[in-house]
Symmetry: C2
Subunit: 165 residues, 2 copies
């Protein structure tokens, strides 16, 4: 069971985009440099976020990524589902129906206890992540950052963000 | 994010092994036939269960698989961890330390809110599965099985199980 590192990147990307002033965007290469991750791989995650309506991507010199909706409306589950898909991790193939003693339809009124337990476990997993908006991630990171670093980030964003004409 | 189907097979395998009378074992091919899954792939999952001390595998004509500990002491998490590994699904690569504005050690007293949320989500996932012993899975399946099917399973086990001399 693995969550690709694209999820970590995408979450951190949303957190930095949440700091952009209104109307500003961050070009792909600047975003990748800020996060210290390879731009082509990051672009893949950003495409997934864009398809999910979490970020928007403007082409051109004044283009780049920005959040498409307020950061309080983007949860860690939204980002995980965008990057990894939201299909259940456990896929029940109804093994109980197989073989010489397979259960009949009448004996399978609902999911078996194995499938039901995984559904509950996954629902809890989703709910925990859905309860954490990017706003909280940004607030947590801001709380531990020194004033010097906050200023460095602000300056860097000012230098690297693009703006609509 | 995916859980391999080997987990489903392994869980069902443990459930049927829980029905064996004391001293009996089920050969690999019989177990695969019962579950309606390919024997070589199932063998891989059974090896993982064996390494985790969940089943034991006896070689030879009177050999086969049996549970190595009582079914109430085998949870769906034990089986998942045996087959998929128990490493965290989300691996934090400390992206916050990267790039031109990377956080210093002093600014990282604990995991960031992203990593912390995934830790909580995964702990909940584990706990939900850990609360379901194979005993419960067997009881649930028995509850919905017809008497005819229970007898068919009993007969099939009688025909296919091996016994220590």
């Amino acid at each position: 069971m693995k969550i690709g590192k694209g999820v970590e990147w995408a979450a951190h990307a949303c957190a930095i985009l949440a700091l952009l002033p209104p109307g500003a965007a961050l070009p792909r290469d600047a975003l990748a440099a800020f996060l210290g991750v390879p731009a082509p791989y990051l672009a893949k995650q950003m495409q997934a976020l864009s398809r999910a309506g979490i970020v928007s991507a403007q082409p051109g010199v004044a283009g780049g990524y920005r959040l498409f909706r307020p950061s309080e409306d983007i949860s860690l589950w939204d980002i995980t589902a965008a990057v990894e898909g939201d299909a259940p991790s456990f896929r029940c193939t109804e093994v109980r129906r197989n073989g010489p003693c397979g259960a009949s339809s009448a004996e399978c009124p609902g999911p078996c206890d194995i499938a039901a337990a995984f559904r509950r476990a996954e629902a809890g997993f989703r709910e925990t992540l859905a309860a954490v908006p990017i706003t909280d991630v940004v607030a947590g990171a801001t709380r531990v950052a020194t004033d010097a670093r906050k200023q460095r980030i602000k300056d860097w964003l000012h230098e690297n963000a693009t703006r609509r004409a």
